[in-house]
Symmetry: C2
Subunit: 403 residues, 2 copies
């Protein structure tokens, strides 16, 4: 297995001001191609730290990708660290002309881009430039003691575009003896799943990850292609109600099933505040089957837009299965859809009562066949309760469409 290390550079990462996501993006690429990712590191934007990083990994892995520290400001030190590490000067590479060319029709950006030529075009003489198709700073690559090193900007958009551009070269050594698959199972506890597929879990030639995220458990199986295929067959036989092949989330399964059945879906959201709609529309092509979501936070909006009855709100409260049912039926009607799902609950931290503690969420799924309701007591803080509610709502919607 070829091996790699990923590192991200930046005080904004070490101070928690920014959540590091580039390494996660790249980690998936390594995983999918059977590379071994040995470690991910976040280090500060000091020259010594960057040089220290090279000293620790160059010669030890096939590939080292670092991100950040290539911009035009005082705290961007990656290019100087590389030139010091390689013991060479920097020069201004003409590849930067192609960056300038891109903004030639915008005088303000043109002026700015030229002003930043030094340092954004500066490349250590013993390294080579990498074109930046979306941003300004050139990337830098070099090879030493058998390790390929890529230095890329930290801006996720630029990082992703530039790794994509370099991927064919990076992944030229294909690993034909490696495959992986992911299977998402709903409503079964992880220990129960593990106990039902001992021949998969105990197979020493497979690497099995069991990742619970209520109400789903994702199984990721890695190993030799034929063995992975066997494992998948065993799992799908034991759990025929797992999400369809290729669906990496419940939202994808909803869209997949709705497209297959040519039906339209809509939502009515209270405590999830738009997250159910956001999950569905995060996926390209969702407009084919998703009509919309009525986020009704106030009782007035629930009545006026969705037609929830005043009596329900007064006698049973907004957090009730009856209200959830009326919300889902309202969404079905106003969006003229075939299936609708609703959420109404107490995400916290305030608003809980003894009978309806924080985390209580009611759900409704409506279709021409009728309306189903559910109540769940979800654990965690506000954001965790909301995310669990989104996944549960979508899972019940998926089951209903799939019938």
């Amino acid at each position: 297995m070829p091996s790699a290390v990923l590192a991200a550079i930046g005080d904004e990462l070490l101070s928690g001001a920014r959540l590091e996501k580039n390494c996660n993006f790249m980690a998936k690429n390594f995983h999918n191609r059977g590379w071994e990712l040995k470690r991910v590191e976040i280090i500060s934007d000091e020259e010594d730290e960057i040089i220290n990083l090279f000293s620790r990994w160059v010669g030890k892995v096939d590939l080292l990708i670092i991100s950040g520290g290539l911009g035009p400001t005082h705290d961007d030190k990656t290019r100087y660290a590389i030139s010091k590490y390689l013991g060479c000067d920097l020069y201004s590479d003409s590849l930067y002309d192609k960056v300038v060319e891109r903004v030639k029709n915008d005088p303000r950006r043109l002026e700015y881009t030229e002003r930043c030529r030094d340092p954004q075009a500066m490349i250590p003489k013993l390294a080579a430039p990498i074109f930046n198709p979306v941003g300004f700073a050139l990337g830098i690559k070099f090879e030493k003691d058998g390790t390929k090193v890529l230095a890329l900007p930290g801006v996720p958009m630029e990082y992703e575009a530039m790794t994509r551009q370099e991927l064919p070269e990076i992944f030229s050594r294909e690993n034909k003896n490696y495959a992986w698959t992911s299977i998402i199972i709903l409503d079964v506890p992880e220990m129960t799943i593990a106990n039902k597929i001992p021949e998969v879990v105990n197979n020493k030639n497979l690497h099995v990850s069991i990742l619970p995220a209520f109400p789903q458990v994702e199984l990721i199986i890695r190993g030799q292609p034929l063995q992975v295929e066997d494992a998948e067959r065993i799992i799908r036989k034991q759990f025929p109600d797992s999400l369809p092949r290729g669906c990496t989330s419940i939202a994808e399964a909803v869209l997949f099933e709705a497209k297959a059945k040519s039906v339209k879906v809509s939502c009515a959201e209270s405590c999830t505040g738009g997250l159910v709609g956001a999950s569905l529309t995060n996926i390209a092509g969702s407009s084919e089957v998703f009509n919309g979501s009525a986020v009704t936070y106030s009782n007035e909006a629930k009545m006026k837009i969705l037609g929830v009855s005043e009596a329900t709100l007064k006698n049973l409260g907004a957090v009730s299965e009856q209200c959830a049912a009326e919300m889902a039926e309202g969404a079905l009607r106003v969006y003229d859809s075939d299936f609708a799902v609703s959420t109404t609950g107490i995400a916290g931290p305030d608003g809980g009562t003894e009978l309806k503690p924080v985390g209580t969420v009611c759900f409704g799924v409506a279709s021409k066949a009728g309306t189903k309701t559910f109540t769940k007591k979800l654990p965690g803080g506000r954001s965790e309760v909301r995310l669990r509610a989104v996944r549960f709502a979508l899972s019940e919607l998926w089951k209903e469409i799939r019938k």
Copy 2:
């Protein structure tokens, strides 16, 4: 400055199946208290790797917090690595009784919790247990060569609860000579900001981070309390339209301003699909001022729910300032609010045309004072376009409420 290192253990992190967030959460805590976070590492769940981590950092920093590998399954190796590293056996700690006590009324969970006593209660003899107030596995702590080591579960809910529980002890050494502040400025390019406050940017005693995220730039200033205060005064004088003190996002500023003015807000969303509502409702207490958001993905929903005219959709299209205006006005009316904001655009990757390429988004802000509209061409992929659109929509909403 006391120093720390954070590490996360788990193949699901190195494979990219899970995005690591615990270290970001804890990094903020260190930053806020003037600790130096030297590095963040993600390592695989192998015993040798964990022991290697201890060897590299014990004796070098004041605190090392590791997360993950404490569960009941075959890939949870943290406790064995600690016992090997310290050269001692494991024992079953009675603190686990308190965990069992919590589920005593739920026979199924009780049985499961007891079944997992070994290994979840197992603590190396030269270490001490940490109570888990929300999950099952006990944490582990020990001290060696001047380094405090905490091993906590990787489940974010448990990690956060347990660090909170241990924080008073961890942060007992307060750093009185340290302060930090954050100021968010809208609609000014980062270089322009830097040029307008040279006395802040060039002050060698301050650590200044400049973090752009269209349409905002966040300045984070760290240093001695009086110098940080001075810097903040200078910045706020130069940029009087920055977000109010204490607001860490534009969504918070919207809620802050709406509460101050006792006004209600609502939204009408197309391309953002519910994300504007989700951003606002992510903040506790948002129900005081947020009535709801009409996510209208289909043209029919735009007409039926928000009253967008058929002529507008036919002649100008859904992605037009006229449509955005009618959507915002519709949201104002149906949600009976004082201010409403709308988004309609092409998030991509498909659906772009020469006149309206992917990334084109129209916005409307409506109030009793009238309606304003905007069009932006936002860069990036689908998810980036949507997030930028959310921030821009909220920033224009905030400005309008603030007037």
